[in-house]
């Protein structure tokens, strides 16, 4: 007993042979009260709080994972969409290029045709003009030659060819003869 007395100072062997298996009434009552207080404060107040927090944390983590998955899905979807759009745009561009090339070729062909037509027209016009000019020159020449010839003939013959119709006939005949001769020479 000495050590215990030294250590604690207030130990007492109240009974000579105490039975340690007999519960003390005060201890039972106080033990019950103390435990019930602990049970109340922890069980009714504190543990429900931490359980709720743990549940919320689980939710938050699961929610976070779910949100991340959703975001990834969304990103994947958008990427697919972009790729699709890009492919479409490339296709469209190729189509436009092809179309433009065709159109260009067509335009060139059209222009060429048009130019040829125009050239032909100009040539034809020129030919007609030349023909007309030649005709005109020929007619005038014929007239002048006729007059000159008549003038010359009247001077030589000294007679005035008064009858216009006869005169014209003579000149024409003469000229036809000239023409025939020229053709024959050619």
């Amino acid at each position: 007993m000495m050590l215990a007395e030294h250590a604690a100072g207030f130990v007492a062997a109240a009974e000579k042979n105490p039975n340690p298996l007999l519960p003390d009434a005060a201890e039972m009552i106080f033990g019950t009260i103390a435990f019930l207080i602990v049970l109340f404060v922890l069980g009714k107040m504190l543990i429900p709080r931490i359980q709720q927090t743990l549940a919320e944390r689980t939710d938050a983590i699961e929610g976070g994972i779910k949100r991340a998955e959703e975001a990834q899905d969304e990103a994947q979807r958008v990427l697919e969409q972009y790729k699709e759009q890009l492919a479409e745009a490339r296709h469209e561009a190729a189509r436009l290029r092809e179309e433009a090339r065709e159109q260009g070729a067509q335009i060139i062909a059209e222009m060429r045709e048009q130019a040829q037509t125009e050239a032909q027209r100009v040539i034809d016009q020129a030919h007609a003009q030349i023909e007309a000019d030649r005709q005109q020159a020929f007619t005038r020449l014929r007239t002048e030659i006729g007059e000159l010839a008549v003038d010359l003939a009247s001077r030589i013959v000294g007679e005035s060819l008064e009858d216009e119709a006869r005169r014209r006939g003579t000149v024409d005949r003469f000229l036809d003869q000239l023409e025939d001769r020229a053709r024959a020479e050619a």
Binding site: M1, M2, L3, A4, H6, A7, A8, F10, V11, A12, A13, A14, E15, N17, P18, P20, L21, L22, P23, D24, A25, A26, E27, M28, I29, F30, G31, T32, A34, F35, I37, V38, L39, V41, L42, G43, K44, L46, I47, P48, R49, I50, Q51, Q52, T53, L54, E56, R57, A60
Partner: protein, 262 residues
Amino acid sequence: MSAPHILAKDFEAPGLGLFQWKPLFHIGPFAVAKPIVLCALVMIIVIAFFWAAFAKPKLVPRGWQNVGEVAYMFVRDEIGRPFLGKDSEKWMRLLIPVFFFVWLGNLMSVVPVAQFPVNSRIAFPLVLAVLIYLTFWVVGIKNQGFFGLLKNATMPPDLPWALYIIVIPIEFVSTFFIRPFTHAVRLFANMFAGHLLIALFATVGFHFLWEKVTPLGFGVGVLGAVLTIVMTAFELFIQAVQAYVFTLLAAFYISAGLYSDH
């Protein structure tokens, strides 16, 4: 006279008196001695710790909440869930107070100045065991009915009928009468014996190294001092194990009340 007798002539081993305390004061007819004071201290520490940890729990834990969560999850995963499965959340409200009330009561054995395991006084384990025994009855009758509880507890299925003659009385007495006592006495006896052992070695060390130093007794004193330290370390382990076992059995008894398939 032989040497040991001479050596230990004046040595008096600590006895049962180690567990008898002078009343410090009285509340009505009840004498309040050191065990009750320590019990109150345990109550205050348990409440203070869990208040610090869980009063305002955060989604991202800090400080005491981390420690509290480790404590909570230990009891939940090691004791609650194996026995009570999906019902464990609800019963954690009982198991956490039981575990920490018992463990801290045990721990008082090695706390300087306190140095007395609260649960080496049979009254404290007994009231806990009785509370759990009553809980077993309440949930048992609620979930299985009175006769269902009797039948499920005393008649394990698939036994040859002749065996029931032996099994039924054994199971009946063991489940409904012996259980609360074994539950309480297991804890009490461990703490009682542990305290007695530490006190014995400490007394040996003190007696032979301080009170009565002799050349022959010196070695014995050193051995006593060393063993005091070793036993204290061992007691730390036993205290935790006994708190664990006490709570485990509580969970098991409650599960026996909740579920019939045992």
